[in-house]
């Protein structure tokens, strides 16, 4: 295992090692003699990084022979010549202007070995390396990433060398991905890194204006290399990979890393470039590249819109009666109504693009996936629709009264009814497999997750069932009146009741973990899909957003629906709710944010 990954890293580091200075045996200071000797003694074996003595000067005997103060460690004299192969390591002459410095560095980078000292001199006017800059770049990056989001702003304000982390696309990528409830469009998180190859990254590093001061370099060749370049250079994968590569690099020339990092990471500030870079929405991104800082900022702004209730509101009209149910995705919104039809709306244009008819009474509930739409009606039947043709493929007949909710997975369709039963059907041929009776009132809502069915009934109980056997597993009691809705993500159950409360339950223990108070009438509908956020709709005509962990109502959307709210669903950027007033309301928190890549 270890040796396998070792090889992988070795090949990945191929480029950087080519620029490695030769082992500094000859010029090594006496203090590091033992390292050098070992390195030479086992020549051919990758025992010590050839330049390790540069990197680890602080722990070399020169600086450690007597206990040194923290200060001496934190602020290394960079001119320390102990292990440097030539005299350019001596204290620097006065600096040339930044631009010329860049050119020189660029040239020398291509042809001659890197020198940590040079790099330091150019980045830090004091000629000193602070501790973060002194760390191998990938490790410093991990430190910054672990410091997490608000701290990145502070870090950018510390010094020039620290501020480069706030420009590193890979840092922002990790910051984004480690936010618990943030998701990107599915392909984004992975696809991008498959396209970024280390060779390319390295080449990019050499043609960026290196070590440009934050502003000055932007006018040079880097002005047209926005975030993309930064991202590709540091396409280091996730932290585990980072750490792995770090470990391995202890073998393969890690001494070079800080120097390289300094060179290629201090890209011109994208925000200062004419094209806009991170922040220019119109900026054309090469395929597969992502400006993670931009994404982070958009996502952050989206969160703030949720907190402050800043949303564009759209109203869809077209149904001729109460709209009972809704589900939507990126492209479409699907609604079912008392007017017996199902309508499909275009998410972007907000126009009704299809109307499906087939039920003989109100469409009370619906669920769909890419292949199938399943609806339940007060005509007591369930219809499985052929999405393509828009016609009923199967009609499931067995319930004795209206079908109040449906759920399905690859194998089964589950329906619940006013007749107090739950029925399980085969999805492929619609055969009725079993009927679960146990509730003493109409079963208003049903959820399916794995092999578990969770049902909520007018008898004020929630029950959990095994779909394979039909056995009742657990009963959750606590609501004092009938239940109207329930959600279940496999671990947590959220329920809404006529007692005006929402309760949060631990599905395994049956313990009620939280009670959410705020609605003034029956809680008719809920949406919860894991995480902290749940959204509810009530006969009190409001839609409320909750943090189910704290139990707080974080947003109260009122004065839009003029009657009972029947159904609600939310995503990262929207809430869609439907009501007896025939309206479908879209609360769009993205407004003018760029959320195409955010889920």
């Amino acid at each position: 295992m270890k040796s396998g990954s070792q090889q992988e890293s070795d090949s990945g580091d191929g480029d950087s090692r080519r620029t490695n200075p030769p082992p500094p045996c000859a010029d090594a200071g006496t203090g590091v003699a033992s390292a050098i000797n070992i390195g030479c003694a086992h020549e051919g074996l990758p025992i010590y990084p050839s330049g390790a003595t540069n990197m680890y000067t602080p722990t070399s005997p020169l600086s450690l022979s007597q206990p040194s103060s923290m200060r001496s460690f934190m602020k290394l004299p960079v001119g320390q010549p102990s292990s440097m192969p030539n005299s350019r390591a001596l204290p620097a002459p006065p600096q040339p202007p930044a631009a010329r410095c860049n050119m020189k560095r660029k040239d020398s980078f291509v042809g001659t070995p890197l020198r940590l000292q040079d790099t330091c001199r150019a980045t830090s006017t004091g000629g000193q390396l602070d501790f973060l800059t002194h760390l191998p770049y990938e490790i410093a990056m991990v430190v910054v990433i672990y410091a997490d989001f608000p701290a990145i702003t502070t870090i950018s304000e510390v010094s020039r060398s620290w501020s480069r982390f706030a420009r590193d696309n890979a840092v922002w990528r990790r910051l984004f991905l480690q936010q618990r409830e943030w998701r990107t469009a599915r392909a984004l998180a992975t696809a991008y890194y498959h396209t970024a190859r280390p060779e390319r990254a390295f080449a990019r590093a050499t043609d960026s204006p290196m070590l440009s001061s934050l502003g000055a370099g932007a006018g040079a060749s880097g002005a047209c290399t926005p975030c993309v370049g930064v991202g590709e250079q540091s396409a280091s994968g996730d932290i585990a990979a980072l750490l792995t590569s770090r470990i391995l690099s202890a073998y393969s020339g890690s001494s070079l890393r800080p120097a390289i990092a300094l060179q290629h990471m201090v890209a011109p500030s994208p925000t200062l470039s004419a094209g806009g870079g991170f922040d220019g929405r119109s900026q054309q991104r090469p395929r597969g590249a992502v400006g993670w800082r931009h994404l982070f900022q958009q996502r952050l702004a989206l969160d703030r819109n949720w907190s402050s209730g800043t949303a564009d509101v759209h109203v869809l009209t077209g149904h001729a009666d109460s709209v009972y149910c809704v589900q939507y995705d990126h492209d479409k919104i699907v609604t079912g109504s008392r007017d017996r039809t199902i309508r499909v709306w275009d998410s972007t244009t907000l126009q009704c693009v299809r109307t499906l008819t087939g039920h003989d009474a109100s469409v009370l509930c619906l669920k769909y996936d890419n292949a199938t739409l399943v609806t339940g009606s007060s005509d007591a039947t369930v219809i499985v629709w052929n999405w393509g043709a828009g016609t009923p493929a199967l009609r499931l007949v067995s319930h004795a009264a209206g079908v109040l909710d449906v759920a399905f997975n690859d194998e089964y369709i589950v329906s619940c009814s006013k007749d107090c039963t739950i029925k399980v059907w085969r999805r492929d041929d619609g055969r009725l497999l079993r009927t679960m009776a146990g509730h003493r009132g109409p079963v208003n809502a049903v959820q399916l997750c794995g092999t578990r069915i969770v049902s909520a009934s007018g008898d004020s109980l929630i029950k959990m069932w095994d779909i394979k056997t039909g056995d009742l597993i657990r009963t959750f009691s606590g609501h004092t009146r009938g239940l109207a809705c329930v959600q279940f993500d496999g671990r947590t159950i959220v329920s809404g009741s006529s007692d005006q409360l929402i309760k949060v339950w631990d599905a395994e223990t049956g313990v009620c973990k939280q009670t959410l108070r705020g609605h003034k009438d029956l809680v008719r509908t809920l949406h919860y899909a894991g995480g902290h956020r749940a959204v509810s709709g009530s006969y009190d005509q409001t839609v409320k957003v909750w943090d189910i962990t704290t139990g707080k109502c974080t947003l109260d959307l009122k004065d839009m629906h003029t009657s009972w709210v029947f159904d609600v669903q939310f995503s990262a950027s929207r809430i869609v709710s439907t009501s007896q007033d025939q309206k479908i309301i879209i609360w769009d928190f993205a407004k003018d944010l760029d959320v195409a890549d955010i889920n």
Binding site: Y146, A147, S213, T271
Partner: protein
């Protein structure tokens, strides 16, 4: 077959470490695999005695751990990551902490690298920029223009 490995710090101090514990260090592990281990101490020329003592202590304590890869979000929780032993182990001054990080990186003790990174991240996480500068003796080398730009960029995230 010897079960203990001798490590020699840069200042000549010798440390005996268990083979299993030493395996936490990919550097030592691979050395042992590649060139075999006899009674000759393995020099760690970049690691001072005091630091090597800490690394050896860490490896010895965690020799039997099966460390699972944790969710980063868990790592960032204040009490999620650090076990009590680790917490005591990390109760050192900044200098020692950084030396440990360098040594762990050099010796390829990835769990210790991660632990030190978390500890340092927590150090700087709650400090304002000027406090970071003074604590770690960092020069504010921004020009006025740069500072304004940095502030403008920071404002985007505020």
């Amino acid at each position: 077959m010897m079960n203990a490995i001798q490590l020699q710090a840069s200042d000549g101090q010798l440390f005996a470490i268990d083979r299993e514990a030493a395996a936490l260090s990919s550097l030592v592990h691979n050395l042992a695999c590649d060139v075999g281990i006899d009674s000759t101490p393995i020099p760690m020329p970049n690691v001072a005695g005091a630091t090597l003592a800490k690394v050896v202590e860490y490896c010895t304590h965690h020799r039997d751990d099966v460390r699972l890869c944790k969710d980063v979000a868990d790592l960032l929780q204040d009490d999620g990551l650090v076990e009590p032993w680790d917490r005591r182990f990390l109760a050192v001054d900044d200098d020692t902490l950084l030396r440990m990080l360098h040594a762990a990186d050099y010796m390829g003790v990835d769990a210790l690298v991660e632990l030190c990174c978390v500890a340092i991240a927590r150090l700087i996480r709650d400090l304002p920029a000027d406090a970071i500068r003074s604590r770690f003796d960092i020069t504010d080398d921004f020009s006025a223009l740069e500072r304004a730009q940095i502030a403008a960029e920071a404002a985007l995230c505020d």
